[in-house]
């Protein structure tokens, strides 16, 4: 049973009005359990829309989305996935531990069980001493680690991430990438990861899904297996650069139709 199965999915916003946008057209994608898949492409290619369709935050116009063998709607109700966004989205009025406990609270867990799990998650993201602080007392990178801890608190088999490191500086970002790989390996979580950054996608992923805009579609899927034991050395390895080149060429291909060289430079800079 695949973790995510997207079959013939289209998403059209404002259908039949002058403001109609074909956000996604005929998208097919299968993600296997334990896999790390990145969605990459320029703005407007529908990568965030695709993630929200998997999360059932949006309904597809046509086609079907299956998560863990269930409809996307059912797996949202069952909380089969955790989600993290570019903004950490912590609740200012809740302590760090209470933020992590929120999804468990909504699942109806009792206080003791929640506290124990929050502690376990804080250990996982290596911030055990921050339980009682308020979110605004944490740095951006720490807030994002708490957001990941919260997304994984209920031990969901699937983690959906929408540019979670997009607002972080480069050093913090690379550190967070290493941490995410470690956490996913420890928890055996499947990840679908939206990003603007080619190196980030290549470093993290088993497969990179390259998308293009107007209308949003998948143009290429690139296998980049850098192996189980990725480290900082991996960022200087030949196969890392080979992967970056492959993704870059795939992205450039999508832009050749639009003769839009400026946009691809925009992608590289991130």
């Amino acid at each position: 049973m695949s973790a995510v199965h997207v079959a013939g999915v289209s998403k059209i916003f404002n259908q039949g009005t002058p403001k109609q946008v074909d956000a996604l057209v005929d998208v097919n994608l299968t993600v296997e359990p334990g896999e790390f898949v990145s969605l990459i492409g320029p703005s407007g290619c529908g990568k965030s829309t695709l993630l929200r369709l998997i999360a059932n935050l949006l309904e597809p116009t046509t086609g079907a989305v299956t998560v863990n063998g269930k409809t996307a709607a059912q797996s949202r109700l069952d909380q089969d996935y955790g989600m993290a966004f570019q903004q950490a989205g912590l609740f200012d009025w809740r302590s760090v531990a209470k933020n992590i406990e929120l999804p468990l609270e909504l699942k109806g867990w009792d206080t003791e069980k929640r506290a124990a799990r929050a502690k376990e998650m804080l250990d996982l993201v290596k911030l055990p001493e921050f339980a009682d602080l308020m979110p605004w007392q944490l740095s951006g990178g720490m807030q994002q680690r708490i957001a990941i801890a919260r997304a994984l608190a209920a031990h969901p088999p699937l983690l959906l991430m929408d540019e979670p490191f997009g607002a972080l500086d480069e050093m913090t970002r690379e550190y967070m990438q290493g941490e995410l790989l470690r956490i996913c390996a420890e928890t055996k979580t499947t990840v679908v990861f939206v990003t603007h950054s080619i190196p980030e996608a290549v470093y993290l992923s088993n497969r990179v899904v390259v998308m293009s805009p107007r209308p949003g579609r998948i143009t290429e899927v690139i296998n980049v297996n850098l192996g189980e034991n990725r480290s900082e050395d991996t960022r200087a390895a030949d196969n890392f650069f080979a992967g970056i080149t492959a993704v870059r060429e795939a992205l450039r291909g999508t832009h050749a139709d639009h003769a839009n060289a400026g946009a691809i430079r925009g992608v590289e800079d991130r």
Partner: protein, 260 residues
């Protein structure tokens, strides 16, 4: 360092205030200003202490009107904001109206309200204060209930949260700082409305009516003493609202968004 800062925060305004009073006193003496034109601070202060118990009684009347109106207006404002945030079409009907009414001096309505009740009733004044407070609270709290971060709403949806759970765990906590902002604005507004509504008739028992009656009798210094009482009453209302806000934010409602 902290001492220097404290001196800068409190010492400098204090010295300025004292200097201003001294200048006032000196100007009255130097130009030999007549008491009906401008009373000196020393005279006002002695009038204030001579009339302390009468000022206190008048302040109690005005203060009670302001307090009752503040509480009633806040209660109705909060209740209505929940209804508005639940039914968006009502929101689009009423919010522009509330904002428009906030911008005009609706307290003159007290003249109309006075006709509805007996001449000695405090009810028209209290209704007037409630109305002023009501619109301030309504606009702010409704904003707090509806202007919730998209990320928070998407998260709650991903947790399969019900509307009631979203209300309890996101919208209400989000609205609490807005409520205290509304209180900080409406506490002084309640006091002002309470005074001004006394200008439109009714019992001559509050600070507002005492100020006008003393002026009518050319007791300028006494009028100023009542003005001083009015200032103090307004200050008390404002300070209490600030203290309440601090207590509430220490209780977990802290919103310091400097990192966002």
């Amino acid at each position: 360092m902290t001492f220097v800062n404290r001196l800068r925060n409190f010492g400098v305004p204090f010295v300025f205030g004292v200097a201003f009073l001294a200048f006032w006193e000196g100007a009255v003496k130097f130009f030999n200003l007549k008491p009906y034109f401008l009373a000196p601070p020393s005279k006002i202060l002695s009038q204030f202490f001579d009339n302390a118990s009468r000022i206190w009684d008048a302040a109690s009347v005005s203060g009670m009107n302001a307090l009752v109106g503040l509480i009633a207006g806040t209660a109705f404002g909060v209740a209505m904001s929940f209804i508005l945030s639940r039914f968006r079409f009502l929101n689009s009907l009423i919010t522009p109206l509330a904002i428009a009414l906030n911008a005009v001096p609706i307290f003159v309505l007290v003249a109309v309200l006075n006709n509805m009740y007996s001449i000695t009733s405090e009810i028209p004044r209290r209704i007037m204060v409630s109305l002023v407070v009501y619109f301030i609270v309504l606009v702010n709290v409704a904003k707090g209930l509806t202007q919730v971060k998209t990320t928070h709403l998407e998260l709650m949806r991903s947790y399969a949260a019900s509307d009631i759970q979203i209300l309890r765990k996101v919208r209400v906590p989000n609205a609490i700082p807005y409520l205290f902002t509304a209180l900080k604005i409406s506490a002084p507004a309640a006091v002002i409305t309470s005074f001004v509504s006394e200008y439109f008739g009714g019992s001559q028992n509050g600070l507002g009516s005492r100020i006008t009656s003393n002026i009518a009798n050319s007791k300028n210094a006494a009028a100023w003493a009542y003005v001083l009482g009015a200032c103090l009453l307004g200050l008390v209302f404002y300070l209490v609202s600030v203290v309440l806000e601090n207590v509430a934010s220490r209780g977990g409602g802290a919103t310091n968004n400097t990192n966002k």
